[in-house]
């Protein structure tokens, strides 16, 4: 490895994670940007709809035209306060916006209105759980601040080979996104996580996203950029002063948060072990390689020349307003998870499966409709999830409602349907064949409860397999399954298997 490579922080070969973490303690800091889901922008009434045609959601304010004046969106302030409350923050009694000056064409004003030393919310925490070999461990991630700012326009780089900013001949700008309310959530340095740092980072961003979604203040879609994460990281020998930190941007999925932390620990340890030094810089994470490359050096600290925003007056939320907002807070995800586990008598893993399937709200609604918890879970994560996966749709877009499940369960309880027939009912519902009753009627679905018909089918099956009949008579009752199966087949599943079994044993004069 060349000397030049050592000084610019790049190495050709990375240590593996065990080697890297063996010699150093990491300190991580996470900066998360969340686009709020307000109807209109932060300072003007332009729409925030995602995916509109370029430059169709703009006005003099968000284009930074001379003489235009911003006015703060009250809903954005309320959402920010609610995020602050969810993160156990203190809500400022008085705070101002600040002007952050920089020249970059994504900001038509040549400054971004943000908050500097007076954030709206500060000094909070979020508890997250990580899995360790010794079981789940709770880590408290302290929150430094939650502040309000505005998103920037979207740049598309043209010319050059890669479509990246490097080598581009020029760029095109769409200002639809400029001025959309953006919240930045900054953690305090997270220390003492050791080798769990990557998992803690991921668990934090995951739980933060859960909180944001529970508050219904943003859709928090990392892949669409409505939630974005920057990872600050330094490493140092145990007990030594903190090292120089890097900031990794472009981390666009929960999985990448974990990978970016792990990769950066490996990179920094490799540089240091090779006698190099870490420089303070911005790095860009690449999803494809799982590695980052150097971006701007921050050696000459950026000079944003922050000053209080003269076009806006301070925000001074009254304590009454804060309490009103506190009263709108939903149950926090961690509390809800604990409650559902207890109420549904399932473990964390089972609950996670429900969450992954997008089934929690559906199961909740089904239970609320009066269905037993176990049955509600069974249908949503069994048959219905299978169909959803097969057809490639989300569970909640299947045309099956909690009330449908209630009706089907009632038919099962009354003996008119069994589970196998119920699956046919759901198939009919999904195919748009009408209501539960209509599907049952149209498909002629009903448990055969006529003993005569069942006995005829049993006799037929016994006649077809005399050897099995002998086995059962001689006491090998487990052989009865073959005959029950045959009867279920001839009745096309429309019999109650338990009843068939009882009738069969009676027929052969065998008792269990």
């Amino acid at each position: 490895m060349s000397t030049q490579n050592m000084t610019n922080g790049e190495v050709d070969v990375y240590l593996d994670y065990d080697e890297a973490i063996g010699g150093y303690d990491p300190v991580i800091g996470l900066e998360t940007h969340v686009e709020l889901g307000t109807n209109s922008k932060m300072w003007c009434g332009c729409s925030t709809n995602f995916g509109a045609d370029s430059n169709t959601q703009v006005c003099p304010v968000c284009l930074g035209l001379p003489g235009s004046m911003p006015v703060v969106n009250r809903a954005a302030v309320e959402s920010t306060i609610r995020i602050g409350l969810a993160l156990n923050c203190t809500i400022a009694e008085w705070c101002r916006f600040a002007r952050k000056n920089y020249f970059y064409p994504d900001m038509p004003k040549d400054y971004q209105i943000s908050q500097y030393d007076e954030p709206l919310c500060f000094d909070g925490y979020l508890d997250v759980t990580v899995e360790t070999p010794d079981g789940p461990q709770v880590v408290r991630v302290e929150i430094e601040r939650v502040h309000m700012e505005e998103d920037t326009g979207k740049l598309t780089h043209a010319g050059g080979a890669t479509g990246r900013i490097h080598g581009a001949d020029y760029s095109l700008v769409d200002y639809n996104r400029a001025g959309i309310p953006l919240i930045e959530i900054v953690t305090k340095p997270v220390t003492g996580t050791g080798r769990l740092a990557p998992e803690v980072a991921r668990a934090y961003v995951t739980e933060l996203r859960n909180v944001i979604i529970a508050l219904v203040v943003s859709d928090a879609r990392m892949e669409e950029g409505s939630m974005r994460c920057d990872v600050n990281l330094s490493i140092a020998k145990p007990g030594a002063e903190w090292g120089t930190r890097s900031e990794t941007k472009n981390v666009n999925s929960l999985r990448s948060v974990e990978r970016a932390v792990r990769s950066e620990i490996e990179r920094q340890a490799s540089v240091l072990n090779n006698g190099g030094r870490i420089i303070q810089e911005t790095r860009h994470f690449h999803e494809d390689t799982g590695r980052s490359t150097s971006g701007r050096s921050k050696e000459q600290a950026e000079d944003y020349r922050y000053f209080p925003e003269p076009d806006l007056v301070p925000v001074a939320p009254s304590r009454e307003w804060v309490e009103e907002l506190r009263a709108t807070m939903p149950e926090m995800p961690a509390v809800k998870r604990a409650r559902l586990q207890a109420e549904w008598n399932i473990n964390e893993f089972e609950l996670q499966s429900l969450a992954n399937a997008g089934a929690i709200e559906l199961v909740e609604a089904t239970i609320a409709a009066g269905v037993d918890a176990a049955a509600a879970r069974k249908w949503w994560t069994g048959e219905l999830l299978r169909v959803a996966n097969e057809t490639g749709v989300e569970l909640d877009s299947l045309t099956v409602t909690p009330d449908d499940i209630k009706q089907v369960e009632a038919l099962i309880a009354s003996g008119s349907l069994n589970d196998k027939l119920a699956r046919q009912v759901f198939d009919g519902l999904i195919n748009g064949e009408g209501t539960v009753d209509e599907v049952v009627a149209k498909r002629g679905l009903a448990v055969v409860s006529d003993d005569g018909a069942l006995l005829a089918a049993i006799d037929e099956a016994l006649a077809a397999s005399p050897d099995v009949a002998e086995k059962i008579k001689s006491g090998k009752i487990q052989a009865a399954g073959a005959i029950v199966g045959a009867v279920m087949k001839t009745t096309k599943g429309q019999a109650d298997a338990a009843k068939v079994r009882t009738l069969l044993l009676e027929r052969l004069g065998v008792t269990e």
Binding site: N39, G45, S47, T56, V58, N101, L172, D303, L312
Partner: protein, 98 residues
């Protein structure tokens, strides 16, 4: 005696994307100095019992409701742009500009 230095003016010029000639640096250093001295007089009257203010009118919480209002059309937005392409503002190369 100028309290703002030539390198500081050069730094500000760079941040503001202004290409100043050497003689202009001296010129603006003098001008900025006068401005700074004028503003510095505020410090003479600012006592501990006078809180700093960032706005001439003492008011807080000026908000608008979260309601979408019509903006301007794309053609209007792009009308004054020096260059446009594909319904977007076309801007010069961003990196390597120095």
């Amino acid at each position: 005696m100028s309290s703002i230095t030539r390198p500081e003016v050069a730094h500000l010029a760079r941040l503001a994307r202004l290409d100043l000639a050497p003689e202009e640096l001296d010129h603006y250093a003098e001008q900025l100095d006068v401005i700074l001295q004028s503003v510095a007089r505020i410090s003479e009257v600012a006592a501990d019992d006078i809180p700093p203010m960032s706005h001439p009118i003492p008011m807080v919480n000026v908000f608008r409701d979260d309601v979408v209002t019509p903006g301007i059309t794309r053609d209007e937005a792009l009308a004054a742009a020096p260059a446009q392409e594909d319904d977007r503002f076309r801007v010069p190369r961003i990196l390597d500009e120095e």
